[in-house]
Structures are given as structure tokens and as C-alpha cells.
Symmetry: C2
Subunit: 221 residues, 2 copies
């Protein structure tokens, strides 16, 4: 019989870096190694629901961006028995995150996407797939916002894109493009206590997004 698990690549953004939330394994196999949070699939729960539950259990967050990456199913990916896994990735605002009781900082770690430790099973490969998928998705769906607080500056947003895509973007052109899309609302608020011109804070315009989407609109970069 083939067993099925569901694993989550939870992305966050902090200190201008793209991060992944990893958990230290309590049990064999691979006890003590870092791994993706996840669980075996329960007969009475959908695969999406299983990913949601894992997220809730670990980060205490509901209603967050969650999308399937793909299934991984080599015969030998898991030692001792046949286990395939279905992987999801999530985008969360790291400010809203507080680990559930019972998860110490030693157990639950935000790692830089480009400085990952040794990982259990094929989780390295899964994270690479997640990152690749995110890189593509972020260019034609406005999902980068999910990594930021409700209110953010244009520079914040640009840094998110630079961290995900691992390229430098031109400030002028990035702003022009975002302006044209009309997906941002000026909140009227500004940065405080900064030793330079304070940035205007924006929020994402959900309604405009829905409206544009119906019209077959195409977000680009």
C-alpha cells in the first residue's frame, strides 16, 4: 500500500530576504534533521485541507495564500516504506506569525532560501520546486503582497520581488508599472522616524484586483 503525506513550504520575508519555515524532526526516520512541516493524509480530509491544518497548527494563521506545488513520488524518497508527498507553498506575513505553544525557537526556524541546512528526505528538492513555482507565479499574479503587512511602501514591495526573483529591479520602472496597474491604494499614511523623506504607505486593492481579473487582465512583473 502507498501512503500519502502533505508537506508545506511556508515562505516569509524578513530583512530583505526570502525565508522558509523549517521544523526539527522529533521522530525517526531522519530524527533531528530539519524538514518541511507536514503530516500524513487522513482519509476524511482533502489534501488542501490537510495543508491548511498543518499551517494552522504551526503558525496559528488562517486564511492565508496556499497553492499546490506538485506531488513527489519516487519509489525511494522515504526510507523503509512507500510514501508519496503532495507539497504546497504558503505566503505569510512574518509579522503576524507567532509559533504555537509547544514549538520552541530551536524547533521551528526561519531559514534563508539560499542558506538551507541539510534537510530530511527530498525536501531540498521540494523547496527548489516551490521557489521556482513562486518565481513564475509572482510575475503574472499579484501575490507578492501576501508577504508584507497590510500597509507597505513601494520600496518594501520592490524588495519582496527582488528577494523572490533574485534580481535587481529598476526603481523607476518598477514604480511606473505598478502605477499603471492601479492595484494600490494610497493609505495617506507615511513612514515615521526615518532619517530621510518618509515613504507613502499603500495597501493592496482587493476589489480592483477582482474587477481587473474578470476583465481578463494580466498582471506583469
Amino acid at each position: 500500500m502507498v501512503e500519502t503525506s502533505v508537506d508545506c513550504v511556508i515562505f516569509g520575508f524578513q530583512h530583505e530576504k526570502l525565508k522558509v519555515l523549517l521544523i526539527k524532526r522529533n521522530n525517526e526516520p531522519s530524527k533531528g534533521l530539519m524538514a518541511l512541516p507536514g503530516d500524513f493524509l487522513d482519509k476524511s480530509i482533502s489534501i488542501y485541507g490537510s495543508a491548511e491544518n498543518t499551517l494552522k497548527k504551526i503558525t496559528d494563521l488562517d486564511n492565508i495564500f496556499l497553492e499546490q506545488i506538485q506531488a513527489f513520488g519516487s519509489v525511494d524518497r522515504y526510507p523503509g516504506k512507500r510514501v508519496i508527498t503532495i507539497s504546497y507553498y504558503a505566503l505569510i506575513n512574518i509579522e503576524n506569525y507567532s509559533p504555537r505553544a509547544g514549538y520552541t525557537a530551536e524547533k521551528l526556524v526561519w531559514c534563508d532560501i539560499d542558506k538551507l541546512p541539510e534537510l530530511a528526505f527530498d525536501h531540498q528538492k521540494i523547496i527548489e520546486s516551490a521557489h521556482k513555482k513562486l518565481k513564475r507565479r509572482v510575475r503574472y499574479e499579484p501575490i507578492g503582497f501576501n508577504l508584507l503587512p497590510k500597509e507597505f511602501s513601494l520600496t518594501n514591495l520592490q524588495q519582496v520581488y527582488e528577494a523572490i526573483l533574485q534580481v535587481e529591479l529598476n526603481k523607476r520602472n518598477f514604480r511606473t508599472k505598478l502605477n499603471q496597474m492601479k492595484l494600490l491604494i494610497n493609505t495617506g499614511n507615511k513612514q515615521k522616524n526615518v532619517a530621510h523623506k518618509p515613504a507613502i504607505l499603500y495597501k493592496f486593492d482587493e476589489n480592483m484586483y477582482k474587477h481587473l481579473k474578470e476583465g481578463g487582465f494580466f498582471f506583469k512583473l
Copy 2:
């Protein structure tokens, strides 16, 4: 316990239309309905391998383009028991296709992507996902060639793209773009017995593709 199946969306191109290969179900549940070819996952076979086997069994083809779409895992997608499915899509050259012995034309049918019959389980949804994925993939990876014979005209290729993307493309610009990419080799052959200027036949340049890919090249439309 959760069971796992692997299903294949097999795409072909004929009469300027994008087609999907469907099979009439022999057994309950949904006996007599059209469905995607597939099988339950065997413990000793990888999920990719399972998709390959299905393809071989039905079309007698090896070595064809095959990519995972995603897993479908609603609790109630399959009647009577819990079955999740992992779906793949394949691109084949319909000219090379001949159904394996035992599969009559009544049983195995190429259907227009926009004229699908009633389908078993959630297979309609799976085909829609496959088409959506194909639409995206085809724009930044040169995979459309897989639907054509070894040698093809530029008009053939344009029709493939138009059938997949369901848009009309401008002849002049399509050709200019393809020319710039240098992915086509002029075979020196031409169409025969056509009542108009015969088209030059090209083939896909595998080596150039690998070379360009290493250099971080980006196929676009």
C-alpha cells in the same frame, strides 16, 4: 486508507484543433462514461513511471513529453472510497499514434478540447487544469513542437499555437519571433502537391535548444 491513482491528459493536434484522448470505462464506477486513461499506483513504481506505463499501454509510444499537472484530492471525488489522483499531461504527434491491439475506435476517442463529452469523476476539471497549464508552459518553453511531425511548416506551428492558446496570431510577427530564436533548422524539403507556393519544412533544433537553455535563455510566445 487513502488510495492513489495516476491519470493522463494526452494531447494531440489534428485538423487545426487541439484534441484529448479519452477512453470509455469498462468497469464500475461510472461504467460506460468517457474518462482519462490512468491506473492505480503500484507500490513499486514511481508516479512518473506510472504515467509512462499508461501512455505506453494505450498509445504504444515511448519517450514522449510528459509533465505533472497536480494532485486532485477532494474527499468525495471518487464514489465509494477515498482515492486521490495525480494527473499528468502528455504531448504526442498524432501521426505516430496507433491504438494498441484491444482498443477499438469506439473505446478510445480523440475529442476536441472544446467539445468534451460528459466525463467520469472530476476528469473535466483535470482537463481544464491541464489546458491551463499547457497554455502557460507553451509560452516560455518550446514544447509545441511535440504535437507536430518531425518536419513541419511555419504555418503548421502557428496553428498549433493558435489551437492551444485559442487566439489568432499575426503571421508576420510569429515568424519574426521564431526566426530570432534560431530554434528551427530548414530541412531543405518543401510541401508537395499543394495548389499554392509550397511551404518550407523545418525541424526543431534540439542542440541549439540545450545550448540556449544553459545560457539562461527565455523562449517567449
